[in-house]
């Protein structure tokens, strides 16, 4: 279980408050965080992973205060974070990274199992370097495979669908469905995709650095889509007005 108590984050470069007094309790298996771009979702993920230090407030993992822990210490305490933009490494292979993620020596067959689960033909990828020769979509899947290999009690995915093609997207949904069944802890997914939001136990909306709505998908999604439709209609009308 993850708890955020009165968490705020102020960007060091311009002093702008990106998260303001966020209070959240995440104890459902599969939680989706959504909301407009620039609303603070990715910042929230980075604050949980320890990449950004909180300016105010507390973060608790299974009741233990992890606010002062470093990225490494939080990772060891059971936090995994799949980046929105995966990082490339010259010379480090897919197998190296998945092995580092597992935190122990694992066999090539085990690495291949993780890769197959995210829809990568393991034989082709296991010895490839995680460098610029891999596409964005391939990197995203490797990132997900690493998170699976870690198998921690909390896994955060920042827009896992970004950069993944339509065909692979169905696979991705089944990967998350499977993970949801297997995992003993909590999964947080930041996403704009209706199909991901639809498999969530809980949906949280973050806008302007605050939690603006929180509840089951049945409670949250209709209003969210109505708002989105309103905005879309509005922009169509506006463009017509501007055309004239």
């Amino acid at each position: 279980m993850l708890e955020l108590q009165h968490v705020s984050y102020v960007a060091p470069d311009d002093g702008k408050e990106i998260l303001s007094d966020v209070n959240l309790t995440i104890d459902d298996k599969f939680v989706a965080i959504t909301g407009p771009n620039g609303g603070g979702k990715s910042t929230l993920a980075k604050v949980i992973a320890g990449i950004y230090p909180v300016s105010k407030g507390k973060i608790l993992l299974d009741g233990a205060d992890i606010t002062a822990l470093s990225i490494t210490e939080r990772a060891k305490a059971g936090v995994s974070f799949a980046f929105q933009q995966p990082v490339r490494f010259k010379g480090i292979t897919v197998k190296d990274l998945v092995t580092l993620a597992a935190g122990k020596k694992i066999t090539t067959a085990e690495v291949c199992t993780y890769l197959s689960e995210v829809g990568l033909c393991a034989r082709e990828y296991v010895n490839r370097e995680v460098n610029a020769s891999l596409s964005g979509g391939e990197l995203k899947r490797i990132e997900i495979a690493m998170t699976m290999a870690r198998g921690t009690k909390l896994s955060i995915f920042d827009e896992p669908e970004a950069g993944i093609d339509l065909w692979s997207f169905s696979n991705l949904i089944s990967v998350f469905r499977k993970m949801r069944e297997k995992i003993g802890g909590n999964i947080i997914i930041i996403s704009h995709q209706e199909r991901i939001l639809n498999i969530a136990d809980k949906v949280i909306v973050i806008a302007g650095g605050k939690v603006t709505a929180e509840g089951s998908k049945e409670e949250i999604l209709p209003a969210l889509y109505a708002d989105a439709a309103k905005e879309a209609a509005c922009s169509v009308l506006m463009s017509k007005v501007e055309d004239k």
Binding site: T72, A75, F81, V87, G91, I92, L100, A101, R150
Partner: protein, 305 residues
Amino acid sequence: MDAIQKNLLKEIAGLHDVPTGAYNIRSNGGAAGRRSTANIEIVSKTDKPGIDIIVKPGTKNESVHIPVIISESGLKDLVYNDFYIGEGADVVIIAGCGIHNCGDQESAHDGIHTFHIEKNAKVKYVEKHYGEGDGNGENVMNPTTVIELGENAYMRMDTLQIRGIDSTVRVTKARLAAGAKLDIKENIMTHGNQHATTDFTVDLDGENSAAHVVSRSVAKDKSRQLFKSDVHGNNLCTGHTECDAIIMDEAKVDAIPALECNNVNASLIHEAAIGKIAGEQIIKLQTLGLTEKEAEEQIINGFLK
């Protein structure tokens, strides 16, 4: 051989004992062992220190080990080795130099290696440099490699210098005939106050000749590195050089690449990138549970692999 010499041999050639195939082991400026085979003859030079390694035409899948080890402090060793690789041969040559210096004087090994590679022959050449010792004496190595590649000949050269060499100037000169190909991969890591200079000159003389030179290096502490490359495209040819360096602490790296196209059909490219380890790479590995130091080690190990 004593334990120190055996350890040096292990570091530079991966050898625990005398190798199979042809070999020549040079220890403290003298011969410590040699074996020729039916196809590979090793003979001493008569006019200067060094050996001639003569590989018969058509020799396939054979190897030659020519390690040099120095464990006497203050020894300055200069050696000329000439390789004659016969037409159509396909061989692996493993050279390397290990210095153990526990005294206060400078120990040095300067090797001048010349490769005469005939038509259609293939050579894989591996050279490792390693130094150790608890004295204040410096370990110096200045290897010169001269490569003459005949028609459709191929050479792959892998060089590795990771630890313990205080000063090195590596000079590599190559001349390629029609259809010849040259692949060079250099890995260097310097630390402390070490200096390393590498200087490549490649003449692409023949039609459809091709050269690919990749240097990857890590400069730590107050060490200095200089990378120079000069590729001349004198015919329809392709040349590619790449200098990729990670810089840490107060180290300095200079890259001076030069390309000279003397033919309208020559296609030459140089890429150079020098910079510190990307912060996001360290953060990613930290999110997997590695400390900052462990993350750096993994990134450097991968980079120099």
